[in-house]
Homo-oligomer: 244 residues x 2
DNA sequence: GACGTGTAATTTGCATGCAAAATGGACGCG
DNA sequence: CGCGTCCATTTTGCATGCAAATTACACGTC
């Protein structure tokens, strides 16, 4: 995302990368307050580069900055998830359209191979590996569009919804449907049917949202942000702050 | 973009807003180096909040940060323009699709009014006012999609291409075509033809790119970033740095 | 004059210090 | 017991200072 090609990063860049990974992976629970002091200790740096890193992560939507009240890990509400999946659908749709014009034979062959592998994981009911191939396919299509800005935005959006999208359990019926949709995706791509591919991708993601919604994914507590607290779902412990 | 509702901003927020506006409007020439010192004087603040602001603007793509070498105003290359217009097309397409499902009667009426006004400006060959309506229409469609994340990303992408998109001269033939496309856009929206609207919007922006390209818009100097310098196109003077 | 070299001045990256705002209780009142 | 107030503590926002990296430039060589 930066414009630097160098390998050795500055402190704030390092922290942006590491903290972003932690936030994406959910190491720090969504909604948790993250006092600068704690993060300074965690990364062993002073507040100056840390604050710079937080500003960047806030711009990316990973944390929320509350004036004079510090940062907290952004929560993915049901509404956020819908909105981001809709954005994702728009990006994948245009990517598919462009990919049909620009995909190289090598890239197409790789996508076909990934698709075959994914189908195998579907048949053997290996959801984690299925998701891994699935994600690689979607990302490969976006890369095949030959548009760096599009790819960067796609990655940024997906980072926010990654766990919801690629960790959610899928009932067999949905899984079968998703697999059939992917057959259609491959078909359209091979036939270079941009409009068709865009259409399928949009519907594919629409179904994905409905499925996650039905599975009851939600990082948000009660609508009000009052201190009334419940146990954090999907969280090993109820800590509110990063370990110090 | 921030999560704060308050009116009084902190220094770095204030600077982000003001500097962003300057960058979008091209007050500081693209490609210009912007030493922190100068900006500190300009805004009468210390380097700490200024640097935080620069990090945010870099994340938004308005400036480039060069490790140990400060910031410079991002330049919009022809490739950047193509990529961002393609992203924009994807976002507008999905927005159109969603808007067809969700647009309120009031919002639709406003868009129709804007369209009528724009058509009048087209007839009277008033390009600035035409562009003003044009932009409001596109933004209104995006707003009508009922998706805040989509709207925010749309605004961010458009900020980077605003001058190219809404200041470029248009030969009559292109202008007439654009106007006809807008008739189609209105038509599809009124008929709630999401797929059709998405299709027209994508083609509309594709044509827009071709048109700007033909007009020879480019903020980039010679491909190499060597110190060989020419006069900065579209710039009142050849300054390399912000006024001090 | 073109071009490399060494050094001074500038600029960046980061740590630290201080004032203002927010937080957390202790206390008093209804 | 619930609830508002006041004050000590913590936390944030910003300015400043210092070391490292970069830049500018004078000088010497070809």
């Amino acid at each position: 995302m930066g414009t630097n090609t160098d390998a050795t990063a500055t402190l704030h860049e390092e922290v942006v990368a590491r903290l972003r990974e932690m936030l994406i992976e959910g190491v720090i629970p969504p909604g948790a307050r993250i006092p600068e002091r704690d993060l300074c200790r965690l990364f062993a740096i002073s507040r100056t580069p840390l604050r710079e890193a937080l500003k960047v992560l806030a711009a990316e939507g990973h944390v929320e900055l509350l004036r004079n009240r510090g940062a907290r890990v952004a929560r993915l509400t049901s509404r956020d998830l819908r909105e981001l999946l809709e954005v994702c659908a728009g990006l994948e749709a245009i990517a598919g359209e462009l990919a049909c014009q620009r995909v190289s034979d090598a890239a197409l062959a790789r996508i076909e191979a990934l698709h075959a592998e994914m189908a195998a994981h579907h048949r053997s009911h290996d959801l984690p590996r299925y998701y891994q191939c699935n994600r690689q396919i979607h990302e490969a299509i976006v890369r095949a569009a030959g548009n760096a800005a599009l790819a960067a935005m796609y990655d940024a959006v997906n980072a926010r919804i990654r766990r919801a999208r690629y960790l959610a359990p899928m009932p067999p019926a949905h899984w079968d449907l998703a697999m059939r949709e992917h057959e259609g995706i491959m078909n359209a791509l091979v036939r270079r049917d941009g409009a068709g591919l865009a259409h399928i991708l949009r519907r594919h993601l629409d179904n994905k949202f409905k499925e996650i919604e039905l599975a009851g994914f939600a990082e948000s507590e009660a609508a009000a942000s009052s201190p009334a607290r419940r146990t954090e779902p999907g969280q090993a412990n109820g800590r509110r702050h990063v370990a110090r």
